[in-house]
Amino acid sequence: MQLNANIPDGPLAEKWDNHRFASKLVNPANRRKYKIIVVGTGLAGASASATLAEQGYNVSTFCIQDSPRRAHSIAAQGGINAAKNYQNDGDSIMRLFYDTIKGGDFRSREANVYRLAQVSNNIIDQCVAQGVPFAREYGGTLANRSFGGAQVSRTFYARGQTGQQLLLGAYSALSRQIKTGKVTMHTRQEMMELVLVDGKARGIITRNIITGELEKHAADAVILATGGYGNAYYLSTNAMASNVTAAWRAHKKGAGFANPCFVQIHPTCIPVHGDYQSKLTLMSESLRNDGRVWVPKKPGDTRKPVSIPEEDRDYYLENKYPSFGNLVPRDVASRNAKEQCDAGKGVGNTHLAVYLDFSEAIRRDGQETILKKYGNLFQMYEKITDSNPLHEPMMIYPAVHYTMGGLWVDYNLMTNIDGLFAIGECNFSDHGANRLGASALMQGLADGYFIVGTSVANYLGSSDHTQVTTEDSEFKTAEEDVKNRLAKLLQASTARDEDKVTVDEIHKELGLLLWDNCGMARNREGLEKALQELPAIQDKFWNNVYIPGTGEELNQSLERAGRLADFLEFAEIMIRDALEREESCGCHLREESQTEENEAKRDDENFSFVSVWEHKGSGETPTLHKEALHFENVTPSQRSYK
């Protein structure tokens, strides 16, 4: 596997300019001769589709939902960062770059992250011009807030629905291009396979979710914008249909998968309340500004929270981290909640929750002030749990939220397969081992609006292109493979009736295995155990799972089964990656790698690299490659919150 990051020469601040100047172009009159496939219509996919169509390419865009407006980018609440320095509080491109690379615990590329900070400003201008109704000051200028512990106010927002408004902006630009005919939109189409011709990405096979028909689509380049793989854990804050299938198909065709073990686990989510639960809901982490986190001192204390006197409560974050207290970063807060629950001090029916208590803040500031700040969150919490945080403490627990890992890409956002690009959450590029709040939206739109267009032109302008059609043998073979895979999924289970299982039962089993052994804190023993137990779950899936209906109709069980089959394979490289990375960094603690104070200890000497996995065929052990990270402009430092 050849891994050349293709980082441009020159000083950090000039690399992007140098690169754009050095990149090949495609003459406007020639662009109409090319066709580009874009899979996914979240922030990255919708913005890329619209932008490429505006430039004159013919674009075919695919999404699994009934409308391109539904992608899970829509659920992002908080905001989007940009280095505008509108607040005159000392922000700059350099500072946004530094915060992002430090937030990622020095596991991302300097050049990529710097470019992200550079184009962040263009994103805001673009979205404003589209009519995105950002929050405004009374004088009419754009409002900003500080987010996720940043020391400057650089986050732009549209109430608590920033993701929705940015996505609708990109969707409107996409809709305009659908109207012009430059984008052909294929809704309810799932990408089942990537097609390579002469080693280059030249098309995809899709399944029409309504009719079950398979379709072949050929193009000159393929862009994947298919999101993250958080649903490997079954329970996450992701949408139900979020999946790894497109990325995994690309991986099995030769694309490297980078840092699969880097998963962000968000500390303030509504806890699991029953085994029928289908998803977890995020509560904004701003709640920790006023809420105090505690558990009973005595394990198994079943008294109601209000009946537990102060001396029997352990405000463990305040006690352990006196200077940061309840405001420690996401990973530290998550890990400590798990530790308390593991020690038997968890609260609620499931004992997998900790209290987030507003009673002191209410006594101090008054009910009105607290409601002004958090009223909508309290309402949302009450709607789901039927409990009012004004009267009893909230219960929270960490949940899988975002995946920093993804397909390996070079500076051009191209995978190691020629002509296959990956943008947004489905690539690994900008967030290192941990993503800062309000930077996922920034990255999705940076990739789609401002970066991938340059890359596509450079690729098309510098490579020889043979004409391909969907009648070529490569397309027929790929379609045949998909057919066989679907048939294998649908073949009647030979298991006895009592041994038959549903897709969701297996998915929950996989989720639990990953959550317990490859979650916030990992150790060699647990990871090796998980690796040993995984094949039994895979076997059970292929032998005992029961999928009703046929492949020639709308069949939601079959859709879920196909996605789970890929999660089951993908889980192996997640676990292996976690096993190989014997350091604690970013979002995860490797238990063997701790400081004397039991905090995460990063190991720059041995692990300052991107791990890139290569698929070696079914049943073969995947190979690990390493892309070394070089820091010329920043000095990696160890974090401390005591």
């Binding site: 619209a50 932008t51 505006e54 009934d66 409308s67 391109p68 407006r69 539904r70 899970h72 829509i74 659920a75 505008k84 263009n122 201008d125 673009q126 011009a129 589209q130 009519g131 109704p133 950002f134 405004r136 000051e137 009419g140 200028t141 754009l142 549209a158 109430r159 629905q161 929705q164 408004q165 969707y171 409107s172 809709s175 305009r176 659908i178 109207k179 809704t187 949408a239 139900m240 509504i270 309340h273 029928y276 289908s278 995020l282 109601k304 609620g348 929750a353 709607k383 749990t385 039927d386 409990s387 401002f450 038959k500 549903t502 969701d504 039962e505 009703p548 709308l554 939601q556 069980s557």
Partner: protein, 253 residues
């Protein structure tokens, strides 16, 4: 997590329809011991797991984010789109709002412009085509002025945001006796007519979107206000009034 863990027994009458070419009918299902902490869709998950284990075909229904923002889910529950709770999508409706012994009738969002595809799933592509007719500001990527070069008074931005909050679920259409999409279309036309960015194309947008709405088979507004009553995001029918003014102005002035 409520301190009361009630379980309830339910009788469900659900619309089953194999595809858009066949006729459908109601089928009755019994569910026991449904936790009142479940969401409505989790209750349907439990039913589907049960049906699957019995070798029967599960009920097809649309859903995705399950946090009330993507607009994918929706069904008519006991005659009300998204069910009985105000400003709540179906995924955010919880079973504690039902009693043991209740019969719940669940139907797809029915409307001429929303053909049923299977069971509770309908095709809402018509709404996308209304947006494609003009629900955008025609700017290409790049070359836009600095974000602060277009000052917008905060109250105006908030009004535009009220309209822009629409999640495109189609409940308004499903609950309108005329199958009108005017709340949906009015919200988008309002957002842009309120903002300076929307001014250059203001007239063309109003005319084109109204025309597209008619072409898709959506009906007209007769001020029933059913749409506003079921809208999970509380979009006001003032947006319909604004759309009408925009349309009249664009037609005659």
């Amino acid at each position: 997590m409520s301190t009361s863990h009630n379980n309830i027994d339910l009788s469900l009458e659900i619309w089953r329809q194999k595809n858009s070419r066949t006729l459908g009918d109601f089928e009755t299902y019994q569910l026991q011991s449904i936790s009142t902490d479940m969401s409505f869709l989790e209750m349907l998950d439990v039913l589907n797991e049960k049906l699957t284990r019995e070798g029967k075909e599960p009920v097809a229904f649309d859903h995705d984010c399950r946090e009330g923002i993507c607009g994918t889910c929706g069904a008519v529950v006991n005659g009300i789109a998204h069910g009985p709770e105000p400003e709540t999508t179906l995924c955010q409706l919880h079973m504690r709002h039902f009693d043991s012994g209740d019969t719940i009738v669940i139907e797809p969002f029915r409307s001429r412009a929303f053909p049923v595809q299977k069971d509770l799933i309908v095709d809402r592509g018509a709404l996308d085509r209304v947006i494609q007719a003009g629900g955008y500001v025609s700017v290409n990527t790049g070359g836009t002025p600095d974000g602060n070069a277009i000052p917008i008074p905060s109250p105006t931005a908030e009004l535009a945001m009220d309209a822009a909050s629409c999640i495109g679920c189609g409940a308004c259409v499903a609950s309108c006796p005329n199958g009108s999409a005017m709340l949906f279309t009015g919200a988008k036309i309002s957002q842009f007519s309120l903002l300076p960015q929307g001014q250059p194309e203001r007239k063309e947008r109003a005319l084109a979107m109204v025309k597209a709405m008619d072409k898709e088979g959506f009906g007209n507004c007769t001020n029933e206000r059913e749409c506003e009553a079921v809208c999970p995001k509380g979009i006001s029918i003032r947006n319909i009034a604004r759309m009408n003014r925009e349309f009249v102005k664009a037609s005659f002035f």
